[in-house]
Symmetry: C2
Subunit: 217 residues, 2 copies
DNA sequence: GACGAAAACTTACGCCGCTAGTTTGAGGGG
DNA sequence: CCCCTCAAACTAGCGGCGTAAGTTTTCGTC
């Protein structure tokens, strides 16, 4: 087939289809040939639109990151903004868990990831956190969110009671997989609340006094 | 070459060499052929000792998990034990960051990972945490540790100042990669302290009263 | 209307994980 | 001591992978 009258592929169509395949079959199951077949095309045709498979994955990852809501920074105080961002971030990743290992490598050159980092860091610095501390906070929350989305904690335990007979406290572990949602959600909520609680305490101890001294009403 | 007088391969030698290759060149660069070459052997010979490449990776992952120290449970109170475990866990993963994406999928059928889960869960329940809460705490800390080891936060930012010109707050982001250790370490310490602080507060609020009622001196 | 860029194609290279079948030394039973 | 079985290496090869190279035809532009 030569060049068709109507282009068969667009970057958008490739990204959307790739994400669907990754969601359905996992990151490892995405090959350029399978992706092309799903698009009704031969493998190498993709290279007319993306330089490498990695560039496709970057675009897929960024399309997921782009759905994260950072609008709470500037609208709420830093504390509430962090909470809303973290929940939105986690929701975005949990909707596409198979891409998380790729996405969690860092923002790299992906525009949506950079925009998110900018909003979070800017929001924290704007609230009075020292720059180095703001970096640490952003990193710590990314650690927690990425870790929570990387793989279900509950599904990490095989559903085979015999496996746990040698471990006195794990006799119920085979049931975890069946309660995946409540376990993962409960752990995330607990951890997020605890993290924010601790950060709040540090803010009151180190930042708030300075803020009050600078603008004493 | 037929069967040699002295076996060329052992499971231990395969695991050790595989870990070295993964450390040096990344998870993606480990192929059965490369591994076999490093061992002075042809590719398929590995299959005399392991059923699949995944089984090799399981063994490598478990050898890393086995270095995590959980002895603080039972020796310290739950709070200090959690801290020591988390630090040891992170140190083990950070020493071999390239295997983390594989390892973080959960314990699966890996014995050292199951033993670690058993110790942590048992320690928390023993301290009075309700079972469901103990599960959440273990999960939340695993989220955080795995996320922190999955990829350096600092190295996630490309060292190219031009990339950040469009983002007002990221003007210094290209310097992050140069301070990888202090950034990642600082973020981990901050997050861990905050998490534990929050958990301690919840313990005092929900568990400690019951403990005092049950054993009033 | 000529022409270069664009978007599909085919072919091919060197990797990959893994299977099948072969060879031959090692170790145990008569 | 001989033989039999098993174990641990081998070679050959399958189908799939990412992607480079070159071909064909159409589109958009001057």
């Amino acid at each position: 087939m030569p060049r068709p009258r109507q282009a068969l592929l667009t970057r958008d169509r490739i990204v959307t289809t790739a994400l669907a395949l990754i969601d359905a079959d996992g990151l490892g199951a995405l090959s350029t040939r399978r992706l092309a077949t799903a698009l009704g095309v031969q493998g190498p045709s993709l290279y007319n639109h993306f330089a490498t498979k990695g560039a496709i994955l970057d675009a897929v990852a960024d399309s997921v990151t782009a759905t994260v809501d950072v609008s709470a920074f500037g609208r709420c105080d830093w504390y509430e903004a962090l909470r809303r961002w973290a929940r939105s971030y986690r929701a975005a990743l949990a909707a596409h868990p198979n891409i998380v290992p790729y996405l969690a490598q860092g923002p790299g050159r992906r525009p949506a990831a950079l925009a998110m980092a900018d909003a979070v860091y800017g929001g924290l610095v704007g609230a009075g956190w020292p720059p180095a501390r703001a970096t640490h906070i952003g990193a710590a929350l990314r650690y927690f969110v990425a870790g929570s989305a990387l793989g279900s904690f509950a599904r990490g335990f095989v559903e085979d009671p015999a496996l746990y007979t040698g471990h006195p406290h794990l006799s119920q572990a085979h049931r975890l997989a069946g309660h995946q949602h409540s376990v993962d959600e409960g752990a995330f909520t607990l951890g997020l609340d605890a993290l924010l609680h601790g950060l709040h305490a540090e803010y009151e101890r180190t930042v708030a006094p300075l803020e009050r001294a600078a603008a004493p009403e």
